[in-house]
């Protein structure tokens, strides 16, 4: 019987991480931005049926990049987790933090125990009812590592460049239309093309809405926002669009 090859654990983890990162880098990116009334999620996604951004619960949204079937599994698991918890306790007890931790555990286990790691990154976002409260954004990576982000977050192939762009251009309390345009500019920062409403999937968690805060922006609405260019920098007062 031939002896199995010895692979050091260190090498194995490295290989897995590289494999997962490659898979994720092939996918298109997603950005999340905190705006005046909540959190905006923008994805480059030409499909209108296969979503990358979805509702999980009243105040919680989900976004995934990478392999569709893998993050779709995670999304459905998230909806189940949230609905079970909300039904057995109370709707307010369902939090992004608990969900992000569950994702982190699941992805971490798959990464260490599975033959093949999930080639996904997910973002779990929660909006708070109170205008002065703190929104929560948890970014969970393929190996289960988890970070909480402030103001903006980016995932996918060009995440580094997008983050650098947003660091320079993002400011707090921007209105929705401006946030949408900023998000789209961020997505195209490494590409030489313009995105129209047909290439985009855009949704918000809007704290002004009744119970269910999640809302998708329809193509017509997006077209309206994209049609209006930003006023030149410096000429506008804060908080107007």
């Amino acid at each position: 019987m031939p002896l199995p090859y010895y692979v050091s654990p260190e090498q194995m983890m490295k290989d897995k991480a590289e494999y997962a990162r490659k898979g994720i880098a092939r996918g298109r990116s997603i950005v999340a931005l905190e705006y005046q009334d909540g959190v905006l999620l923008v994805a480059e996604n030409p499909s209108t049926l296969l979503h990358k951004i979805s509702e999980i619960y009243d105040r919680i949204a989900f976004a995934g990049v990478g392999k569709y079937n893998e993050f779709e599994n995670l999304r459905i698991a998230g909806v189940r987790h949230a609905d079970l918890k909300g039904y057995s306790y109370c709707r307010e007890d369902v939090t992004a933090k608990a969900l992000a931790n569950a994702y982190s555990q699941a992805l971490g286990n798959i990464f260490t125990e599975g033959l093949k790691p999930f080639e996904v990154e997910v973002l779990v976002v929660e909006v708070v009812d109170d205008a002065n409260g703190k929104n929560e954004m948890y970014h969970v990576l393929y190996d289960g590592s988890i970070e909480d982000e402030r103001n903006y977050a980016a995932m996918g192939g060009q995440a580094e460049e997008i983050r650098r762009f947003l660091k320079e251009h993002y400011r707090e309390g921007i209105p929705l239309a401006e946030a949408v345009r900023l998000g789209i500019r961020a997505l195209t920062v490494t590409q030489n093309k313009t995105l129209t409403e047909r290439d985009l999937e855009v949704a918000v968690l809007d704290r002004k809405r009744e119970r269910r805060k999640f809302r998708r922006l329809a193509n017509g609405e997006l077209r309206g926002i994209l049609g209006r260019p930003d006023p030149p920098e410096g000429s506008r007062p804060m908080g107007t669009s």
Partner: protein, 272 residues
């Protein structure tokens, strides 16, 4: 196949929240018949649990109106004066509950979660017919409890976007589902409310007329049935009235319901 993530989230592959509960947390569902002891009844055969009473639904030009009184009765006592019997289940439907209040409210909550769960997992809502069937199955699930006296008989009403009309469904204790063309009412005062609606109902009425008839039917039920609470001008308690149209679900403001109740009372005071 056993997936690594299934350890965390269960082996369940379906879009029904009720099925998920059955698998993951069966203790949150209705108890099996063997676990339910016959409820103690008093000398008059009345169970010692609060029961909700009169609920009704009727169609009008733009959709449906669903209404209910606010009283829960326990034997010959008023258990609660202000309970809600009409629940929004999603943007285009509502369920009104009569019967044992505890299981009925729980069923409404479970049904609401079921519809939302389906919508989120599938990315699209159920058809109105699908929702009505699902509720029927849930009532059937409650049958062992119903045999012990904890009967739940809801009315389901909603706006059918595909057919562009309001629709009303009535149920029996076994989960049997019956669609009504014009109006329906159930609960202990249901028969009285139905009689009133029978005399007043006209197809394609206005919203104001529909709400007025609903108020009139509930006042009649309260007059004839001890278990039904009428409009209470002293404590300021008025029936719950909801409207569902193409534009979605809407709470009828209390002031509007109050005005209609006053109009009914005023007409009666003058002997009309």
């Amino acid at each position: 196949m056993h997936e690594p993530w299934s350890g965390l989230f269960g082996r369940y592959v379906n879009t029904s929240f009720v099925d998920l509960l059955r698998q993951e947390a069966p203790d949150l569902l209705t108890l099996p018949p063997s676990a339910v002891k016959p409820a103690p009844a008093d000398a008059h055969g009345v169970l010692g649990v609060p029961t909700g009473t009169t609920i009704l639904a009727l169609r009008y030009a733009d959709g449906v109106i669903v209404a209910g009184d606010r009283q829960a009765t326990e034997g010959y006592q008023v258990a609660h004066r202000r309970i809600e019997k009409v629940y929004k289940t999603d943007e285009y439907s509502a369920v009104a509950i009569a019967g044992a209040a505890g299981p009925a409210i729980e069923m409404a909550r479970l049904f609401q979660t079921e519809l939302e769960h389906y919508e989120k997992v599938e990315g699209d809502g159920l058809s109105l017919e699908g929702k009505a069937n699902k509720l029927g199955q849930m009532i059937r699930m409650n049958l062992p409890m119903a045999m012990q006296g904890l009967v739940v008989v809801p009315i389901f009403a909603g706006y059918d976007l595909r057919r562009a009309e309001g629709r009303i469904f009535n149920y029996d204790v076994t989960g049997g589902r019956y669609e009504e063309t014009d109006y329906t009412a159930t609960g202990s005062g249901g028969k009285d409310a139905r009689n009133t609606l029978k005399k007043l109902f006209r197809t394609g009425s206005s919203r104001a007329d529909g709400i007025r008839w609903a108020a009139e039917a509930l006042v009649d039920a309260a007059e004839e049935d001890v278990g039904t609470g009428g409009p209470d001008f002293v404590h300021g308690i008025f029936p719950t009235v909801k409207v569902i149209t193409r534009a979605g679900f809407e709470d009828v403001p209390e002031a509007e319901v109050r005005a209609q109740c006053e109009a009914v009372q005023a007409a009666r005071r003058q002997g009309r």
